[in-house]
Amino acid sequence: MISPRRIAAVLKKELLQLRRDRMTFAMVIMIPLIQLLLFGYAINTNLRHVPVALVDESRTELSRTLAQIVQATQVVTITEELTTSQEAERAITESRVRAALIIPRDVSQRLARSPSVGLGLADTTDQTSSRPVAHWIVDGSDTMVASAIKSLRTMPLTELLKQAPNRQVPTFEVTLYFNPEQRSAVNIVPGLVGVILTMTMILFTSAAIVRERERGNMEMLINTPIKSIELMIGKIIPYIFLGLIQVAIILGLGHVLFDVPINGGLGTLLVVTLLFIIASLSLGLVISTLAQNQLQSMQMTIFVLLPSILMSGFMFPFDGMPQPVQMIAQILPATHFMDMIRGVVLRDASLYELRWGILWMIGFAAFGLLAATLRFKKRLG
C-alpha cells in the first residue's frame, strides 16, 4: 500500500530543503530568464549585414551604383575595398570578411546584355550574353552565410538603369502561416522551454537523489518503512512545480519581450508541458539510480542534453536530418516536445492533433518511473 502520508513527508522535506537552498532556487529562476534573453536576442537565422569586401576593377559610376544597391539589400555590408581578387581571397582566409564581390572591368557591357535588366530576351545559350554581371567569392564553409549570399544571385538590377522593375510573376504563391514576419524568436522561444526543462528537470532530480546517497541519508531511509515509489513521487512533485514556474517565465517573458504569440489554449499547454516535465523527471530518476555521485549525474545529464538541443529540432530542422538520426532523436522526449509546444503555442493545435506525441510521452514517463523504481532497491547488495 502506498502511503500518502509518507509521500507528503518527503514532499514537505524537499520543500524545506529547497527553501534553504537559495542557490538552487536562484538557478530555477535565473536559468530560464538569462537563457531567454540571450537566445531570444542572439539567435537569428535571418542573416543580415554579412561583412564582405569589394574588388572594383571597373571603377565606374555604374560599378559604384551596383555596389550600393547590393549593400542596400542589407544582406551584406562592405567593410573593405581591395584592388585584386588575390587580396580578396586572402581577406576571406584571414576571416576579415565572409565573401568578396568582384566587379569586372567590362561590367557595363555585361550589364547591357544581362537578362536581369530586362532590355530584351536574352539567349541563354549565347556565351557572351549569358555571362553574369559580377562575381562573388564566398567562404562556403558556413552554409547559412553561403545561402544568404546565394540569395543575391538573381537580384533584379533594373534600378541600375533607372527603370521601373519588371513585374515578376512568381512560379508559386507562398503563404507563411504562424510566423509571417519570419522572426527567429517565434520559433526559438517555445523551443527554449524544451531545452531548459530538459536541462533543469533531469539535473535536479538526478542530483537530488544522488545527493541523499552521498550525504548518507539513503542509509537511514532504506532502514525505514518508506517504499521506493513513495520516495520517488515525493521527490519529483516539487520539481514539477519548479518546471511550471520556468515555463511561465519563458513563455510570459517571450510574449512580452519578443512578442511570441500564445495561440493555443492554456489547458492544452499545461497538459503538454506537464507530460514533458514528468517524462524528464522520470529520466532524471533513472539517471539517479545509475550515477554514483553528483558529478556523474551531471555528466549523464549533459549526455542527454546535447542531443536534446542539437537533434530535437530546436536548432536545426528535424526534417533535414537523415532517417537513422531522426529515429534516434525520436527517443528523446525533447524531440516530441519541440513539435508539441510549437504546435500549441504557435499553431493552436488541439490535444487530439498532438495525440501521438502525448501517447509517446506518457509511455516514456511510465517506463522511466517503472525502470527507476525497479532499479532503486532498498538493499545495498
Binding site: 513527508a9 542509509e219 538493499r379
Partner: protein
C-alpha cells in the same frame, strides 16, 4: 515465546574474493545490549546490514524477532531502529523538522507524534535546539538527535553502528545511560564498537576479526576465561625490555601503558612472573607484578596472530 531476538547460523557474506563475514553463529537474547567488538573492517557493519536485511547473505540463515531475513526485512522495518555510523538525518533541517519527518515516515499518528517528540526532546536534552539546523549542532547533539529519531517509533530491536565514535567521553557516558534506560523499557540492542570502555558496558560481546567470531560472552566471563596471565613490568629502559621480550616463547603480547609494560603470558606457563624474571635477567631494576586481565587483554589475546 522464546526470548531469543536474533539468531544466525553459518552466516557468511562474500564480496568477490573477500569474505567479510565467515560462518558466524549468533544468539542474542531479549533485553540485552550485545556488542560487536573488532577493528575496522572486521565485519561489524556487514553483519549489522545483513541482520537488518540491507545485505543478502551469501549463505547461512538469519532469524530476527522470530522472522527470517532478508525476506521479512520490509515488515520488520517498523520494529527495528538503525542508527548509522555517520549522522544520516538531514543537516539542512532543524531538530524538530527531522523528528517530524521520522514520525511521518513511521506513520505515527499526528496526535501522539507531537507528544512523543516532546518527550524525546526532553529525554535527550534537545529542547533548546528545537529550531536549530542539525548541521550546525555539535557532534554530541547530532548523535542525541539521531538516537531520538531512531527510537521515535519505539523499536523492539535497535542497531547502533559505532554510535559514539565522534563524541567526547562525557557525552559517551550520558549516551550509554540513555541506552540502559531504553533497555529498561524493553528494547534489545546490538552495538558495534572499537572502544574497549564501550564494549565493557555491554551485557554480552562478540569479538570479531576478519569476519570470524573469536570470542563470545559477557565481558566479565571473557576476562575470567582469558587464556593468559597478565604481568606488569615497571622500571627503566622499557622499550629495550619490550624488544627483549618480542618473539620469546609463551609471550603473547607486550604493550607499553604509560610507565609500565603490560605483558600477556600464555596460560600454559605455571609461573609467569618467575619465567619473565628469568627472561629479563639482563634488566635487574625491574619490578614485576601480576594483574587482573582487562577487556583489552582479552581483545589482544583473541585477535592475536594469523586467522585460525
Amino acid at each position: 515465546m522464546s526470548d531469543i531476538v536474533v539468531s544466525t547460523q553459518d552466516l557468511t557474506r562474500r564480496f568477490g574474493e573477500n569474505t567479510a563475514v565467515n560462518n558466524l553463529d549468533l544468539e542474542i537474547r531479549t533485553g540485552q545490549i550485545y556488542g560487536f567488538l573488532g577493528p575496522n573492517g572486521c565485519g561489524k557493519t556487514t553483519t549489522m546490514r545483513m541482520l537488518t536485511g540491507l545485505l543478502t547473505p551469501s549463505s547461512g540463515a538469519i532469524s530476527v524477532l522470530g522472522r527470517s531475513m532478508p525476506e521479512a526485512a520490509e515488515p520488520l522495518k517498523n520494529e527495528i531502529g538503525y542508527m548509522t555510523q555517520i549522522f544520516s538525518y538531514y543537516r539542512d533541517l532543524t531538530v524538530l523538522e527531522n523528528l517530524r519527518f521520522a514520525a511521518d515516515i513511521y506513520g505515527i499518528p499526528a496526535k501522539s507524534a507531537a507528544g512523543r517528540i516532546d518527550e524525546l526532546l526532553h529525554t535527550y536534552d534537545l529542547t533548546a535546539n528545537v529550531h536549530q539546523l542539525s548541521g550546525s549542532m555539535s557532534g554530541g547533539q547530532r548523535q542525541k538527535l539521531a538516537l531520538a529519531a531512531t527510537v521515535l517509533h519505539r523499536p523492539k530491536l535497535l542497531f547502533l553502528d559505532e554510535p559514539t565514535s565522534a563524541v567526547d567521553p562525557e557525552t559517551r557516558r550520558t549516551f550509554w545511560e540513555q541506552l540502559f534506560d531504553l533497555v529498561d523499557q524493553g528494547a534489545t540492542m546490538i552495538v558495534s564498537t572499537h572502544f574497549m570502555d564501550e564494549a565493557e558496558r555491554c551485557h554480552r560481546l562478540a569479538i570479531l576479526q576478519h569476519g570470524v567470531k573469536k570470542a563470545d560472552g559477557s565481558p566479565r566471563q571473557l576476562m575470567d576465561d582469558l587464556q593468559a596471565d597478565v604481568v606488569e613490568v615497571e622500571g627503566p629502559d622499557l622499550r629495550k625490555v619490550k624488544h627483549a621480550l618480542v618473539g620469546q616463547p609463551k609471550i603473547l603480547s607486550t604493550a607499553q601503558v604509560g610507565s609500565r609494560l603490560r605483558v600477556l603470558v600464555d596460560k600454559s606457563e605455571p609461573q609467569p612472573v618467575e619465567m619473565l624474571r628469568g627472561q629479563l635477567a639482563a634488566f635487574p631494576d625491574l619490578s614485576l607484578t601480576p594483574q587482573r586481565p582487562n577487556l583489552e587483554d582479552v581483545f589482544v589475546s583473541a585477535t592475536r596472530g594469523p586467522e585460525q
